[in-house]
């Protein structure tokens, strides 16, 4: 009788690993945000196409409504998380020097969080502010 083969998938093997059992966490989050962006990204492009115009008043009125502001907030969050996660994959693949790797990953992480904060603040200001 041959030795029993490990039939678990590569993902199944790494999921229990790591200091807090999050060995596959980054990989899984990248896929989950990609699924969210499949919906939200298509919604964003389709919404821009279906607006009667792209002038300041039309776009502002759209983003002041719950149907515009709420999916836009979700789109901003999912897009920035997915963007930072994706850039990390590329950096980890091509930048092997520990110092440079940490520097670039840190730079894009901070830039991503800062950009997301600015985008969400702008959206909130628009949605909750007095109509111009």
């Amino acid at each position: 009788m041959t030795a029993r083969q490990d039939t678990s998938t590569p993902l199944g093997r790494v999921r229990p690993l790591g200091p807090s059992a999050h060995g596959g966490g980054h990989w899984i989050r990248e896929r989950l945000t990609s699924a969210a962006l499949l919906l939200l990204g298509t919604w964003f492009v389709a919404s821009l196409l279906m607006l009667p115009g792209l002038d300041h008043k039309t776009v502002s009125d759209w983003l002041r409504s719950a149907g515009g502001a709420v999916p836009m907030a979700l789109f901003i969050i999912a897009a920035f998380v997915h963007g930072v996660d994706g850039l990390k994959v590329i950096i980890d693949d091509y930048v092997h020097d520990t110092g440079n790797n940490l520097f670039l990953n840190g730079l894009f992480l901070f830039a991503g969080i800062g950009g997301a904060a600015l985008a969400l603040f702008s959206l909130a200001k628009l949605a909750f502010g007095a109509p111009a």
Partner: protein
């Protein structure tokens, strides 16, 4: 992480004949990087300009409708559709499907033509709306 620079790297990028799978793989990374850096920067600028008022928005729209703005926007539209379609292809391959040579090659080529078609369609609709 660390590599002994005295040891040779096995040859990779330079020795393979380019095929659709390789092209779509690297396009996925290039378009993803472009969307993450340039796309998110423009999205943030656009939202900031909207919140800052009609004058700031007019400045954004002015740059966006100049030739260099249109080049960037058309490029980002193509990057969006290419990354979306090759992303779907990756999700399918993540569950272990679509690995057969012919099927894999067919869907790789399909993402390239699909993205070009959707980019053309998107801008056809944008220019139609603005008239």
């Amino acid at each position: 992480m660390s590599r002994n620079p005295d040891r040779p790297l096995s040859p990779h990028l330079t020795i393979w004949r380019w095929g659709p799978g390789m092209l779509v793989s690297i396009l996925h990374r290039i378009t993803g990087s472009g969307l993450a850096v340039l796309g998110l920067a423009l999205l943030t600028w656009w939202l900031w300009a909207l919140a800052a008022g009609p004058d700031a928005y007019a400045s954004f729209a002015g740059h966006a409708s100049r030739w260099y703005g249109l080049v960037v926007l058309v490029g980002l539209t193509w990057a969006f559709w290419q990354h979306l379609l090759s992303g779907i292809r990756h999700l399918v391959m993540d569950i272990g499907a679509g690995m057969e040579l012919k099927v894999n090659k067919f869907f790789a080529v399909l993402t390239v033509f699909g993205a070009l078609f959707l980019t053309a369609l998107t801008w056809f609709l944008i220019l139609g709306v603005n008239q």
